[in-house]
């Protein structure tokens, strides 16, 4: 697979480490969340057959975190963003 990095252009997916569902960005505050909320966050996944927003880490590149929108049925990638930008848009980062 080839991931078109927003800063670095097309890169082989081999350069990245895969973390999984990008909903992991939306982490509850561990000090206030209920155990059930933390459980749902840590363990439950939508696991869609189709478009999937997922976190890839550019381990062998610039070590940025990306949110890749990839179709799990076809592996087609329709969007790649810096995870920082996604987190900012969610109001989770400055």
């Amino acid at each position: 697979m080839i991931i078109t990095h927003p800063l670095l252009g097309p890169r082989d997916a081999q350069e990245f480490v895969y973390l999984g569902d990008a909903s992991l960005i939306d982490r509850p505050d561990g000090m206030t969340a209920t155990p059930q909320e933390m459980h749902d966050y840590a363990y439950l996944r939508d696991n869609p057959a189709g478009e999937h927003l997922e976190l890839w880490y550019h381990e062998q590149g610039d070590r940025s975190w990306l949110v890749v929108t990839r179709n799990t049925l076809t592996h087609a990638i329709s969007r790649v963003e810096l995870a920082r930008d996604v987190a900012r848009a969610m109001g989770r980062s400055t």
Partner: protein, 416 residues
């Protein structure tokens, strides 16, 4: 119809006109007591044991494609019970015992072949870990044996003993492990279930679930609504898709695992071998093909096909272990969808919806579990209590911190 050598002789002398259909092609009834979603190994085994061991009737298996079209027909056919943890080992040992009598039980030769499985050891730390695992297996009534480097050299003189990046230092053997002809497992259970009145309905995809007041009433399918008192879902890689019809999210991700077969070769690998320093395992089928595999590709996928890096990685493992296979040829590579759970162990449990039961999260290891999975799921469906060998396979183990994590990788399914 009972299969036997005598039957073959009789049919051969009379032009093979007497062979009957291995299973019927029934139209779905309006309602059943039990609807099993998924006509793979686990679903078919569940239906078989429900009918045979738990004496239940009015059972249907719904399969969106053909019987055995999922992972039961696309795996590396290995059976073993060499687990470490309490929640797992009794279950897999139960499964191995069921394999041992399976063919006579369902009168179909699935070629259960206890040729032994050998986990190679390459470091002292690995030897410690495998010794611990072997002791755990023995304590649970399974067999385990530590082999020395010399013993292994006698078994497989062509392994890389002399110029290996990770030298072979020994191995953990389970002599009762081995291989089974995978399709025959699906067909044997299918035929046995059909004989006991189970309706096996192919090309029937579940498209929805009818749930009222927290109770399941049946499933919507591509062949219309089918009512059910109890619905058991055993759909492996499609678990999240099917359970989403009931509004449930699962502790599961679907990943692609590739497997491989070589051209047919004169036999030279007797049993199953796993390479402890690379992601590679291999056996040789009764037809002569090397059947081998390695790691999952590592990303969510339902595409049923893999990518090149893992193919190369697996071949490297193979060549590092057995430099003699350089001139053997890879014949076919395929990919299946694995229901990777958050701790690498399965779930056989009720759901919060009355009458809806779930069996999944088998990761890349579901084949060897087929008989016990079917038996335990049938037990749960019939009695509403977990089978004694499957009490740990609960949904709530994640909330309660009772994960069964053989590899200690936690909620990163692609690392299990």
């Amino acid at each position: 119809m009972r299969y036997s050598g005598f039957r073959i002789i009789k049919e051969a002398l009379t032009g093979h006109k007497g062979w009957t259909s291995a299973w019927r092609n029934p139209d779905p009834q309006p309602a059943y007591d039990y609807v099993i979603v998924g006509g793979g190994g686990h679903g078919l085994a569940t239906a078989y044991y429900l009918a045979k061991e738990y004496r239940q009737a009015r059972i249907a298996v719904l399969e969106k494609s053909y019987l055995g079209s999922g992972n039961v027909g696309r795996n590396t056919t290995i059976i073993r019970s060499n687990y470490l943890l309490d929640g797992n080992e009794p279950f897999y040992e139960f499964s191995l015992k069921l394999w041992e009598g399976l063919e006579q039980d369902f009168n179909y030769n699935a070629m259960v072949s206890q040729r032994g499985i050998l986990n190679l050891i390459h470091t002292d730390a690995q030897r410690d870990a495998f010794t611990r695992r072997g002791n755990g297996m023995i304590l649970h009534g399974a067999d385990a044996e530590m082999l020395s480097r010399d013993q292994i050299r006698q078994m497989y003189p062509f392994l890389n003993f002399d110029n290996a990046r990770f030298p072979i230092k020994g191995g953990l053997a389970q002599r009762r492990g081995g291989t089974v002809r995978h399709d025959a497992v699906a067909w044997g259970y299918a035929r046995g279930a059909d004989e006991r009145g189970v309706d096996l309905i192919q090309n029937c995809e579940v498209t929805g679930m009818r749930i009222e007041n927290g109770r399941i009433l049946g499933v919507e399918t591509s062949r219309g609504f089918i009512g059910a008192r109890k619905v058991g879902v055993a759909v492996a890689g499609s678990s999240s898709r099917v359970m989403a019809h009931a509004g449930l999210r699962l502790p599961i991700e679907s990943h692609v695992l590739q497997a491989f077969v070589s051209e047919g070769l004169k036999p030279f690998i007797d049993g199953v071998m796993t390479f402890g320093a690379g992601h590679f395992y291999v056996s040789q089928s009764d037809k002569g093909g090397l059947v081998f595999g390695g790691d999952i590709d590592g990303y969510n996928s339902y595409a049923q096909r893999g990518n090149l890096p893992v193919i190369e990685d697996v071949a490297e493992g193979g060549m590092a272990l057995m430099p003699a296979i350089g001139r053997a040829r890879l014949l076919r590579a395929w990919g299946g969808v694995m229901d990777m759970s958050m701790d690498g162990s399965p779930i056989i449990d009720r759901t919060q919806i009355d009458g809806l039961y779930f069996n999944g999260g088998w990761c890349y290891g579901g084949f060897k579990a087929t008989p016990a999975s079917g038996w335990c799921f049938a037990h749960l469906l019939a009695t509403d209590t977990p089978h004694k060998c499957a009490t740990a396979y609960r949904f709530d183990r994640f909330l309660k911190g009772r994960m069964i994590d053989e590899k200690g990788m936690g909620n990163t399914p692609n690392l299990h």
